[in-house]
């Protein structure tokens, strides 16, 4: 079925529709990784967005049971250059098309994704819709749409839940967390309780946690500031805190580090960072639009991770202040496993 991706300036990109046949609107965002479409499209950090895959084809490895980053994806749509159909008769896979239908996500393929990349290089945010026609009416609909604020509220769990284990206790503030992150904690026997994004100091204190993780998620640092400030005030330098992605931004903001908006949003897996003391490079996955200006950091860090694209600060840790912050997803998914040691660092910090 012929469908269209219509941008807010009226330009339209035709393609073939698959997945859900609904009309959908969101902010365009690019994912450049060649691998891991299942992880990317279920990543809550992409909530409310129309995800453009630049990899030449998605769907060729189906959808499997273990690579969900959230059970119900919250992306508004998928745009791809090419799509694979029934990739196998094996029962361990679901094919992409039926998965998207089931989860009510519309997608268009055979779209000139490279042209979209060029557009996004010029403009920072583009609203777009997936539609059946490319007439005036469609265009008006996009213009009328206001992008949702505070997306963390949208994707965060409504109720606290436990992922019990026998080790240290960690409170995870869910701003849009990924399952792989929980899996890594579980591998380290961490006794996790996941709390909603607006959990109070009291909620956390009741758990007597050995550490706190502020997860990654969609949205902006200032949207979560009000909720997080009292938590930082109360726990900072007392309990180990690890901020990831949005959590990294919130923590940096709290510490008065200057956030620099990147010329182009990072959404991919080929973002190397270098740790200044050891000269170790990690290939990491990032899904972020801001990093920290190194000069604005007054605190003496034990570890500093510099992004090699922008030379900005993409992570740091301070043992005395018991704080770790990473702009990247240490668990990869998609992306390399290089940064997994951060989980160990965090565990060590709690001991």
């Amino acid at each position: 079925m012929k469908r269209y991706l219509i941008l807010e300036d009226g330009s339209s990109f035709p393609g073939e529709g698959i997945g859900a046949t609904i009309i959908s609107t969101g902010e365009l965002v690019i994912q450049t990784s060649n691998f891991g479409y299942q992880e990317a499209l279920t990543d809550p950090t992409n909530a409310g967005k129309i995800l453009v895959f630049t990899t030449p084809m998605i769907g060729s490895t189906g959808i499997n049971a273990i690579d969900y980053e959230s059970i119900d994806p919250t992306v508004k749509g998928i745009i791809a250059n090419d799509v694979a159909w029934n990739i196998s008769d094996s029962e361990t896979f679901q094919d992409l098309d039926s998965f998207l239908k089931e989860k009510n996500i519309p997608a268009i393929f055979n779209v000139d994704t490279r042209a979209l990349v060029h557009r996004l290089m010029e403009e920072n945010t583009i609203k777009a819709s997936i539609m059946d026609t490319n007439d005036e009416h469609a265009f008006d609909q996009i213009k009328a749409l206001v992008l949702p604020k505070n997306k963390s509220a949208m994707v965060s769990t409504k109720n606290a839940y436990a992922a019990p284990n026998v080790g240290k206790t960690v409170a995870v503030l869910d701003l849009g967390l990924k399952h792989s992150m929980l899996r890594e904690l579980s591998l380290r026997k961490i006794n996790v309780t996941v709390l909603p994004y607006d959990a109070s100091v009291r909620d956390i204190e009741n758990l007597r946690p050995d550490g706190i993780i502020i997860s990654n998620g969609p949205g902006k640092a200032d949207e979560v500031e009000t909720n997080l400030a009292p938590i930082f005030d109360h726990f900072y330098s007392k309990q180990p805190i690890w901020g990831i992605g949005l959590g990294f931004l919130a923590l940096s903001n709290y510490l008065n580090f200057e956030l620099v908006t990147l010329p182009e949003e990072f959404n991919g897996t080929n973002y190397p960072v270098i740790e200044q003391n050891s000269n170790q490079i990690w290939q990491v996955a990032m899904n972020i639009d801001q990093l920290v200006l190194p000069d604005s950091v007054q605190l003496q860090m034990d570890q500093e991770y510099f992004d090699l694209h922008s030379e900005l600060l993409a992570g740091f840790s301070n043992n005395k202040e018991k704080v770790i912050a990473t702009a990247f997803n240490a668990e990869g998914a998609p992306g390399s496993l290089d940064a997994q040691v951060i989980f160990d660092d965090f565990v060590k910090m709690m001991e």
Partner: protein, 1058 residues
Amino acid sequence: MPLENDLDKILIIGSGPTLVGSVAEMDLLATDAINALVEEDIHVVLVNPNPATISTDKRPGVTVYLEPMSLDFLKRIIRMEEPDAIMTAYGSTTALKVAHELSQDGILQQMGIKLLTLNKRTLMMDDQQKRAAFLKNIGIDVNQYWQLSEDIDENLIKKLKENVSFPVLVTKHQQYLHNLHLNFNNFDDLITYFKKESQSETFSWRHYSLTEDLSSWEEVIVNIIRDSAGNVAFVNFSDSIEPVAINSGDSVTVMPSLTLNNDQVQQLRAIAKKIADNLKVVGILSIHFAINHHGTQIDTKVLAINSRITRSAVWSQRAGLYSVGYIVSKVAIGYHLNEITDPMSGLNAAIEPVQDKIAVKMPYWSLSESGSNHYSLGKRMQASGEALGIGQNFETAFLKGLDSMTNTRLALFIFKSELKKSKEEIKKDLIHPDEMHMIKLLAAIAKGFTFQELHPIIYLHPIYFQKFQHIIKIGKKLCTEDKISDNLLLEAKKRGFSNKLISYLRNTDISNVDKRLNKSNLTPSYLQVDGSAGMYRPKVNVFYSAYGSQDEFTPLKAKKKVLIIGMLPLQVSVTSEFDYMISHAIKTLHKNNYAIILLSNNGESVAARYKDVDRMYFDPITAENIIKIARKENIKDVLLQFSGKKINALGQTLIDNGLHILGRPDVNPKDNIKRLLRFPIRGLKQNPSLTTTDKNMAIKFIKAHGFPILIGGISKEVKQKSAVIYDMPAFEKYLTENQLDKISVSHFIEGNKYEITAISDGKEVTIPGIIEHLEQSGSHASDSIAVFRPQNLSKRGQKRLTECSTKLIKKVKMRGIFTLHFLSVGKSLYLLQIKPYAGHNVAFLSQSLGKDITACATEVLIGKNLKDLDYDKGLWPTNNFIHVKMPVFSYIDYNSGNTFDSKMKSSGSVMGRDTQLAKALYKGYEASDLHIPSYGTIFISVRDEDKKRVTQLAHRFDRLGFKIVATEGTANMFAEAGITTGIVTKVHNNPHNLLEKIRQHKIVMVINVTNLSDVASEDAIRIRDQALNTHIPVFSSIETAELILDVLESLSLTTQPI
């Protein structure tokens, strides 16, 4: 950390000649490496005897040795140059081999020389047992391996039963022969096989090893660069469409891998990193994995670990725009990845490339275009070259690859005849894949084979099945629909269907397809090749075509633009010589303020070095693409003269489409040349020849002129391999085997063959040099040894050749470079050929003269006159050195209907250089890996005329302590002269005897100068093939043998009783 400061001089071991199956052209990456080192003020010493290389060009900061890469020569160079380190990653397997020898020799320790990109551990990775032990030690899965040994007794059966899991692959190791591989699916078959084998006299358990059979597994290649801080960058994940059973060099490979999900890629990454860390590599590793999918999981086994630059690294350089050649050498001298900026992408070298396009590597099998030579694909690589198809989708990349490799008409012919076969027959064809197996697979899918039917035969991944189905679906629509709709046309173009393919499918002329496209306003867009999925603009301008995408093209702004057509995939007779010339032409055109636009999709080509051209189009070399690019760029001038015969043949089509071929008037020079060959100028003799469709006419011709006869011809529009025949049965045989539509016969005359390279501005003619051919055992010029300066040519003879060439070329009335072949017999001079384009030996001649012949020719092509360029009429002066160009042979294992066809083909060349011919020749043999032994047994077979000369020759060998064997007649002759000679039976009487002796290195040199009859010529070819294939020197002229004797005598002290 900054660079290690104790490195002032680095020796790079080059890759030597191109060999089918073992060495890819590394010239491109070696050139990048040299740049990377020279800009650090490191002096580079390069050893590479291959004259047709750009890396061996003279330049400041680089010392070049065009010497053999054998241990002896390298040790001498090392002592002379005293380098601080040796870099091996750019020399393919040849460099690894000699590096191994050097480290065992002790010279490196003695002189304190470091090995870069290589260490003791990585050196062991070529040894299967050591590799397996290493991997097991670090907890990585390898395929089970059992080496059998003598002490295995009756218990063997029990042991095998307990330990071996099936299917199993048995490797029979055969000395001096390629190993034999056999698959067994169950225990009983295996035991039956061994019972049968043990009957053989030479049976030994030690000759057999068993490995877990991974034939049906998928092959994935991973490239990883590691720096001295232990940081890594993964530059490539590619998978093969064919399973492990077919060598990855002969497989169609896809980048990025489409069959792996993120978890699986990370799994491979982790293993690769672990291997690199444990090997402590500072450089590059290419790791081949065998992969078995089950459910969402994969099993992986490591198949191979190469610590050098390989083909797959070239793909990342081409399609991923990651400067592997540059970065590996920076890493090797101590830079960390984050301290290096990639000169092509402008990005930090730690940033791994990502793709928004697909690159498909398509292998090319030499001489397969005739349709009558068939390869059987398996463990051993047989492809001689490759091209990369780059497209926005798999279908396009695949079809572009195919378009670069096969002749569309032939492919379609095979497709249709396969489709007519029964399903059972198709199945059989698929089980025994040959060079057309992709076409046959497409036919099978068109026939309606389901995935479930195909998978157990060819182990195809479902994604590729689906993609091939799509190609067939579009193709069927193109065939069947009455009228071709805009949508269908767009779909076909978007998925890579060439105009030619569409025209065949629609059964219409190609010009109609062009018109139809114009009507729908369908023109290609050109997208820039980058490694960042369009995020960052690279520093080089490389484009590939796509349909239905936003055009990224802006015409190149320049006053003068020229379109150069690059080199076809490397193949027998199209070797890197052409690449060398194109590269030099580009330099000269740049000096003349031309902007260069190059069309090529040969990944290995050094002329297609992105930084050296102003813009490149990475697409198949077809008339369609040339014309489209020329239109788009608004270019008129096209340069073809250095691109070889096949590309020159496109000339007329291009002229018809309004293009101008540099140097060529719009009339076809062919006509002038034909006339000159038929009616030669005064002083030249004409060699009688005849081209006819009538066999009786040919017979009449033969009767009139007598044997030997050079015979050739055309079958189904394809030129067949010519042969020299000596009797009527041979004539009949040739005709039956070749099914000629047109027969060409000429009298075969023996004499001295001279090749003249000449340059003309349309008025004056200058002649860079005359090359003499030695050892011409047949008709193929590139199979003979070229000598410069000529040794059998008097001053007068030179003058005569110069004058004749000048006169002839003036009559062709064309600018540019020419190649002429003459034959001198006694006082007579015959004109054999005039080629209005550059021949194979320009690179060799340039290196010998130390002058850039291509530059001169290029200047003339763009309109300059020889006089203004200060080139004199007549022959160029020479220096004191004598240069020898040796062909290097590869064994091409195809099934040909032609018994006159030798399977040893020259796939590359090396040169020998010295003040004496004999020494230069000796070096040439050494460089071409035909080691001249100083003792052993020589087989001699000669014709009656040469009796006397050969007896003297035999005497000299005898005195040096060589043993001599010969066939009966020759042996008797030697015996009469008092030389002890062994007798061997003729090959056709007992093929095992002589050939087996050669195979087992019981014979170390062959001298075979015979007057060939039908049987004898077959024998001669088989002897020669066997000898070359076992790296034993063969002499087919007494003169060369005498020269080599001169060297041997001067090397040895005569041992003789008084």
